[in-house]
């Protein structure tokens, strides 16, 4: 094709390309193959094929966040407080997640760059490295929780931690083996759809449809102490919006080769992901609520296989089996997406190749970080006596506390007209975005401060 005539962006400082094409890399060639199919589908008005080709990062971010700790958190909410309040609250949180993830997708499609590199280059190294540090910390803790989730699921089938570690690491290596973003995305997308097992588990516990409908009125409000309520809010928010999702969706959108012409499809992708994640999350809540009349007994302690075993006694072995399989799936998919987000961030911040479309030789750090972070997390769950239950329960809270900085920087990027041009945030998006940041920040900070003051006995527990 002819060389481009487009002028260079002032923010990029690129030299204009008039004579000849830029030097091609393996990554360019691989991305070009994917874009050719998108271009062809668009040219021949094949709408469904176009949608099929462009979905991926949004659904993966949303269903990836329906991970092991999140599903355990939803089920715990159901087991302790029933359906009221949480059935409408979960969709509300995913609506918040949609607002954030749509911004990431849009920034990735317009700038073709990941969140980490844009923050580092545009806002400064300090903020870039702080963001990467936050991400690495929360990702490590969350990855440990994902391996715990697989272990819980496998324990139901009398399989141990070694199998959980082997399964998680084998999946990471297998999905990385193709050297193509498209292959990685489709494999993980196929696995992520099994998040629907939680909906099946909800059906198997035969919920009271009338009670489900009544719970839409946000009542009854969860009882208990102020600190318990804050913990519930912080952990449930951490189950829907997290720093890794921001890094992942922006980087994956750029890696997929999305352009501003694909933004509408990116919105469909993100919206479908949010709807599916909300439905499946409510599925876990409903399944957990079946334990309410039993006071949630049997859900504590991983040695006894926790939730799946408790569900088996209350709702039959089918419900227990499906829930256990769901936990394995939720943990496995999240290991893949969270490892990927860490790898993207590492490559972006160091400034080396960071794409699934690059070969391991050309993107050694990207591949090493992807496998390395999973390896470290896997090693933790093999430590005898490691506080796995506490790690799993605190992973979401830590993510909520660290989230506001990532969100603020993301909103700043989305408002940067030098980067985004005509696709910069509208005023209405900013209003909603700022409200989301304020809500997340307040809940996380209130829980952190209240818990700390209780721990040091400055206020009564």
């Amino acid at each position: 094709m002819a060389a481009t005539k487009a002028s260079s962006s002032p923010a990029l400082g690129l030299p204009p390309i008039r004579d000849g094409e830029p030097p091609l890399t393996h990554e360019d060639a691989a991305r070009s193959v994917d874009r050719e199919r998108v271009y062809s589908a668009r040219k021949h008005s094949k709408r469904w094929k176009l949608l099929w080709l462009l979905v991926g990062p949004g659904i993966l971010a949303m269903l990836g966040e329906n991970d092991g700790p999140s599903m355990i958190a939803y089920a715990s909410d159901g087991a302790q407080y029933g359906l009221g309040f949480f059935v409408p609250f979960i969709p509300l949180l995913f609506l918040m997640a949609y607002v954030c993830q749509e911004m990431c997708m849009r920034i990735g499609a317009v700038t073709h760059r990941g969140y980490g590199e844009l923050v580092l280059q545009r806002l400064g190294k300090v903020w870039g490295w702080f963001g990467a540090g936050d991400l690495t910390l929360t990702n490590l803790v969350t990855l440990v929780a994902e391996f715990v989730s697989i272990r819980v699921g496998l324990a139901y089938f009398h399989l141990g931690a070694g199998v959980a570690v082997a399964l998680g690491l084998a999946l990471v290596v297998f999905t990385l083996s193709g050297g193509r973003y498209w292959r990685w995305e489709r494999i993980v997308l196929g696995m992520a759809l099994f998040n629907g097992l939680f909906l099946l588990a909800a059906i198997l516990v035969k919920p009271d449809v009338g009670a489900l409908a009544r719970s839409l009125s946000f009542s009854p409000f969860p009882g208990g102490s102020f600190n318990t309520l804050l913990l519930l809010l912080a952990s449930t928010i951490g189950a829907t919006v997290t720093p890794w999702m921001i890094f992942f969706q922006q980087s994956a959108s750029a890696d997929k080769g999305m352009t501003p012409r694909d933004i509408n499809h990116g919105r469909y992708d993100t919206a479908v992901g949010a709807v599916l994640a909300a439905i499946f999350g409510i599925g876990a809540l409903v399944a957990g609520a079946a334990l309410l009349t039993h006071n949630g007994t049997g859900i504590q302690g991983f040695a006894g296989a926790g939730f799946p075993e408790a569900l088996k006694h209350v709702a039959g072995s089918a419900a227990g089996t499906v829930f256990a399989l769901g936990l394995i799936e939720a943990g496995a998919v999240a290991i893949l997406t969270i490892s990927a987000s860490t790898a993207y961030a590492a490559g972006e911040c160091v400034g080396v190749s960071h794409s699934f479309n690059s070969s391991p030789r050309n993107a050694a750090l990207f591949y090493a970080a992807n496998i390395g972070v999973a390896l470290i997390a896997a090693a933790v769950i093999l430590i005898p006596g490691a506080p796995l239950l506490s790690i799993a329960l605190n992973a979401n809270v830590l993510a909520t506390v660290l989230l506001p900085v990532s969100l603020v920087l993301m909103v700043m990027l989305a408002n940067d007209k030098g980067l985004m041009g005509a696709w910069a945030n509208k005023r209405s998006t900013n209003v909603i975005g700022i409200a989301v940041i304020a809500f997340v920040g307040l809940c996380g900070a209130a829980y952190g401060i209240d818990s700390f003051l209780q721990t040091v006995h400055l206020i009564p527990a």
Partner: protein
Amino acid sequence: MSTPPKTRDRHHDAPAAKADPHAEERYEDELIMNLERDQFVAATSQPVARATLSARTTTALWALRVFVVLVSLMVIYTFIDQLQ
């Protein structure tokens, strides 16, 4: 990157296509190997220019950062205390 939309998706932005009948042709002309010029690794490996942040913005960001670090330390302290 900062340039305004060159062309729009004809399925989603029909009025723009009507206004500029040559838009699609021009878009095709601007593609190399089915990639837009700023999608190439050669282009994305060039750093973007540093934004100029006002003193007020920088101060607000630092305040937020310090606050978040303090709250994180509180959460981690509580977590360790619960373990004991």
